[in-house]
């Protein structure tokens, strides 16, 4: 082996001297002290960033602050592979932006033949003031910035930041990543709970401010998106005008109010809107004044009690009603009781439905259509060893739901049936007093595997891929390729799919046939049989208007 070592040694020495010639900085200063230098730049403007903390991790910890022209230099570094991070308040690093190749790029070999360029993306800021109809500032309004994100396999409004207006009505929300946002304004809620024996008799109309989405609508879906590019500073003036506020009054039955009762009005965005609740503990009559027009979920809950004397355990009791408020509402009756229950049965394990034997475990969730924050669910079966593939979801409020099932082991959901309803496609309507047929989930493990290669202009490209199912749109998936533009997905339910590769997926409601229509015209198609291993090539679709 000697000759090859010598060759290697010679080649190495030769190579080691090369960097001296280049203008960059991989010079060998001593036996094992190398220099690593570079520049920190603003990813949006290309300008240099001073005062950023550049840190080398293993094997040795070293730090440098970038100088006024953004440059930095580490000296005396032993040879090796270093993890390099850079950060500064008011900026996002590549890792923080979740770029798929960020983690790979953050490793740096030393010696290095060149200038290390580190990018920081400047934060975006939304600021402004909230005024009333007289042009006077309103204090104490929560300005909230949200964006549609994928969470738990669902498209949900995610909170990205908030601020409360000061005495001049000003608010300022920083540290926003580039993206598409919705801004809402919610007046303060000093919720209080008061027990009165006498309910008040109103003589004058109540007025106040109601929550709004920019530019001035009540519904999140109608809110105008605010597009923020890196480093954007957007100014908003929001005028809130006084509106009539209404009262919800009625009676709660079946509860011992004194031992504890929770009464709340929740809006579709998940906020509790009541400012004050008056309740007569003896009769259960209640009044909730000061509520703006809108749709709410009124719910009463008496917590579980453990009677010390009789050792009796009383489970929690609930009552819920959907309320559409556009004038004073009286005569509401909330009868506390155990809510509706749904039995869940799981079948599966082999290629054929089987009620016994190998018991798979799945998570079943009922997502309320009117109140997406409300999603009762259960793990079925609760314990695997029990051998009974059954679980119960209790205390379900009346309303309309979509049912989602997540398997806890490899496989796919072949069917979800409730009586004659195909819950993979249909919605489940729960009505007070009407018993629900059992929800039957069939799990199979003969899914197909799909390998997708994405190209753009003939070259492999990283992109997001929508795997759309026309038959069952809610089965559609949003997937991400790796840096070489490929992805593999297994356990796919057999069927026909359309594939669309896109670059900008924020705000894309990929399970909605209407939103997907323009992409499906140019989509690739694939039909998967049980156990298939398919390969598909997909071309990136350009931006559609």
């Amino acid at each position: 082996m000697q000759p090859s070592v010598r060759t290697f040694a010679i080649a190495f020495t030769f190579v080691a001297w090369l960097p001296c010639v280049s203008p960059a900085t991989g010079r060998q200063l001593e036996a094992d002290g190398f220099e690593l230098s570079g520049k920190v730049i603003n990813a949006a403007t290309g300008e240099s960033v001073s005062g950023a903390l550049v840190q080398l991790q293993a094997p040795a910890g070293k730090v440098q602050f970038s100088s006024t022209d953004g440059t930095f230099a580490f000296t005396n570094l032993p040879r090796g592979r270093y993890s390099v991070t850079v950060r500064k308040p008011g900026f996002f690093s590549e890792q923080e932006l979740g770029r798929w190749n960020a983690w790979m790029k953050s490793s740096q070999d030393v010696p290095f033949n060149g200038e290390l360029v580190l990018k920081l993306t400047p934060e975006a800021i939304i600021y402004g003031e909230v005024k009333n109809e007289n042009g006077e500032p309103i204090e104490g309004v929560t300005a909230r910035v949200q964006s549609w994100q994928m969470e738990n396999g669902r498209r949900q409004l995610h909170n990205d930041g908030h601020a409360v207006t000061d005495d001049e009505g000003n608010f300022r929300i920083a540290e926003l990543k580039p993206g598409s946002y919705r801004v809402s304004f919610v007046p303060t809620n000093r919720g209080s709970w008061v027990t009165f024996d006498k309910l008040s008799h109103r003589k004058e109309a109540d007025q106040g401010y109601s929550p709004q989405f920019y530019p001035g609508v009540a519904d999140a879906e109608l809110a105008a998106p605010i597009e923020l590019h890196a480093g954007a500073k957007i100014h908003i003036t929001q005028a809130l005008s006084r509106q009539r506020l209404f009262e919800v009054a009625g009676v709660v039955r079946g509860a011992n109010v004194e031992s504890g009762l929770n009464l709340m009005l929740v809006s579709a965005s998940g906020d509790m809107v009541q400012k004050a609740v008056r309740i007569n503990p003896k009769t259960g009559e209640f009044q909730i004044p000061g509520i703006p027009a809108g749709t709410y979920r009124l719910s009463a809950m008496a917590p579980a009690t453990n009677d010390e004397a009789t050792k009796e355990f009383r489970p929690p009791l609930t009552a819920t009603q959907l309320i559409h408020l556009n004038s004073d509402l009286t005569g509401v009756v909330l009868t506390l009781g155990r809510g509706l229950s749904a039995v869940v049965r799981v079948y599966g394990g082999g290629a054929a439905p089987d009620g016994t034997g190998n018991v798979p475990q799945v998570m079943v969730r009922l997502i309320s259509k009117e109140f997406p924050q409300y999603s009762p669910g259960a793990l079925a079966p609760p314990r695997k060893e029990e051998g009974k593939a059954v679980a119960t979801i209790d205390d379900i409020s009346p309303g309309t739901y979509t049912v989602e099932v997540y398997p806890h082991q490899p496989g796919y959901i072949a069917a979800i049936q409730c009586g004659s309803l195909d819950l993979l496609r249909d919605e489940l309507t729960v009505v007070q007093g009407a018993a629900l047929p059992p929800i039957e989930v069939t799990l199979r493990n003969d899914g197909a595997q799909l390998r997708v290669a994405v190209v753009q202009n003939g070259q492999p490209a990283a992109a997001a891929v929508v795997l759309y199912s026309e038959e069952y749109p809610r089965r559609s998936l949003l997937l991400q390729t790796n840096e070489t533009g490929t992805l593999t997905q297994g356990n796919l339910p057999p069927g026909k799919y359309q594939l669309a590769a896109v670059n900008d997926v924020q705000d894309l409601d990929f399970q909605n046939p209407i939103s997907m229509e323009k992409y499906l015209n140019h989509a690739s198609e694939v039909t998967l049989q049980p156990g298939d291993q398919a390969n598909v090539r997909v071309e990136v679709q350009e931006e559609h208007q």
Binding site: G61, V63, P89, E123, D167, A174, S192, K275, A276
Partner: protein, 544 residues
């Protein structure tokens, strides 16, 4: 009248204002809202009245006038607020204000509500490079004119935004201090000792990865204009409608590492070390610090700023709550004796209740030290108690026996060198202390009328102080006379007292004996016995 909470008006449920159109049976409260300085009427001010079933609100007209009607006879707290003004109760002084007495023969129709324009303090926090510091905690310290001891207290806290800016609004005229507590964004503070194979390794020999020493820095709590000592801080003197700017620049300094030795080595649940700093005598601000065990009985505390710090070391099993307070002026790398140099005393004793008293299961005896740290012990059924070992010092004794009408009447102590004074015990040396606590039952009350030149006077400061001059802070009672001149003092410990009423006495530092002395000559002498309710008339003295 005394408010239960400072923001009484906000705590109750709202009920809409009553219709102003039709005249209703019942009494009326009416008047005008004016600017306290210019006397100009304040239009569109929100005036609130607190009644038994809630709060009633109305808005003043363009002439500043307001009206409430249909009221039952009684006393009503009333407050008003408007944009740019501080929300105030009628003639408010700290927690006290004048309530409006309504009924036959009483004039409640010429109420002048004076509002003061609010003052504002704004500023910007920057670091040593001149860059904005975001999310820094800015603290506002101020006096409460009507509180018992005129002590400075923390009035508000806000965080700076991305520009390093902060804003304190709705401020009354007065004296304020501003301080900032935060850590450098780039700081990576860690313990310098690490463990290898169960043995502690000092920083010089450790091969474990540690952050660069350039990042082992902290910001000490910094006062405007940029000092770390409170006595060097600039006092902001605000008048009504004042807007002052207080910018603060922070300087990073190397973190102090303290090695604590002589701690119990066998603590079951480990040792918990909390660091804090004290300002203005009694305000305790917790510090973020990192601590970890070096070896049994030895701990390291890192991330401390240089200067005077207090370390509260506590640990032991569940039954024993043992704590040690170590005060030191630290810098660089220091070693401190965790056992402290203060002598340790074992305090136990007995509480004697008035006859027939049943001791509830949750009854406790509490000792409060000068740093506002408390230690407590459960009361056994026979009235005995026993504390975990305590440091020598001065403690205020209180007993919470779940009843509401009891108070500590007398203390007696034997054993190690001790001294009792009123409800305080001072332990000077180490050893065992037997503490006897005698409880009295039945607090008294005083109601009456404050009269100026023979006529009932509203808004007067009425003060009851112990004749002995002892325990002024704890035993005195204060009230502000309402619109009919009446006042009420409650929960008075039986004893001998002096009662005075002073017009405009709100700025007096009455906890200071000498300030009060000139008024005591004309004070009324009262003997309050258990459950006594005295009714008096007191002559108002003018401010001397």
């Amino acid at each position: 009248m005394r408010a239960l909470f400072l923001c009484l008006a906000f705590m109750l449920a709202t009920a809409p204002a009553r219709a102003a159109q039709q005249a209703e049976p019942g009494y009326r409260i009416s008047g005008m809202v004016i600017d306290a300085v210019t006397s100009a009427p304040v239009p569109r001010a929100e005036v609130s009245l607190s009644a038994g079933t809630g709060e009633t609100k109305t808005t003043s007209g363009d002439d500043g006038r307001f009206l409430f009607q249909g009221l039952d006879a009684g006393k009503y707290p009333i407050s008003a607020g408007a944009q740019g003004y501080i929300r105030e109760g009628y003639n408010q002084h700290g927690a006290f204000f004048t309530g409006i007495a309504v009924g036959s023969g009483l004039d409640s129709e010429h109420v002048i509500l004076r509002l003061h324009r609010e003052a504002v303090i704004t500023g910007r926090v920057t670091d040593e490079h001149g860059e904005a510091v975001r999310r820094a905690q800015v603290m506002l310290f101020g006096y409460d004119r009507a509180s018992r001891s005129h002590a400075t207290f923390m009035r508000a806290q806000v965080q700076t935004n991305d520009l390093g800016e902060y804003r304190f609004a709705h401020l009354q005229a007065g004296k304020y201090y501003v301080a900032v507590q935060t850590q450098p964004w780039y700081a990576q503070v860690g313990l310098s000792y690490s463990q290898e194979q169960g043995q502690p390794v000092p920083p010089s020999r450790s091969t474990a990865w540690k952050p660069d020493t350039a990042l082992d820095v902290v910001y000490p709590i910094t006062f405007y204009p940029g000092v770390t000592q409170e006595h060097a801080a600039t006092e902001l003197n605000l008048t009504a409608s004042d807007k002052q700017e207080a910018n603060i620049q922070l300087q990073a300094v190397p973190s102090v590492h303290v090695r604590l030795t002589n701690l119990p080595g066998n603590a079951e649940n480990g040792i918990n070390i909390q660091a804090n700093q004290r300002f203005f005598g009694s305000i305790v601000v917790p510090l973020t610090a990192v601590s970890g065990q070096i070896s049994p009985g030895e701990y390291e505390v890192a991330g401390l700023p240089p200067g005077e710090v207090t370390l509260n070391v506590s640990g032991g099993g569940n039954q024993e709550w043992r704590s040690q307070t170590i005060k030191a002026n630290v810098s660089g790398n220091e070693t401190l004796d965790g056992a402290g140099t203060t002598p340790i005393a074992n305090v136990s004793g007995r509480v004697i209740f008035p006859t027939g008293e049943v001791i509830s299961a949750q009854a406790r005896v509490t000792l409060l030290d000068e740093g506002n740290q408390s230690a407590s012990a459960t009361l056994q059924k026979d009235g005995t108690f026993s504390f975990a070992p305590l440091q020598a010092g001065t403690y205020k004794v209180s007993v919470d026996a779940q009843g509401n009408n009891e108070y500590v009447e007398n203390l007696s102590a034997t054993g190690a060198k001790t001294k009792t004074s009123g409800r305080e015990i001072t332990i000077s040396t180490a050893g065992d202390v037997q503490l006897g606590i005698t409880m009295g039952r039945g607090m008294g009350g005083v109601t009456g009328v404050a009269k100026l030149d023979g006529k009932p006077a509203a808004g007067m400061m009425v003060l009851l102080v112990p004749a002995s001059g002892q325990n002024l802070e704890e035993d005195s009672r204060m009230d502000q006379s309402d619109s009919d001149g009446t006042f009420a003092l409650a929960r008075i410990f039986p004893g001998k007292y002096l009662l005075v009423a002073i017009a405009d006495g709100w700025d007096l530092d009455w906890s200071n004996g000498s300030d009060l002395k000139p008024y005591l000559e004309k004070a009324q002498s009262l003997q309050i016995s258990a459950d006594d309710q005295e009714k008096v008339a007191v002559e108002v003295q003018h401010k001397k």
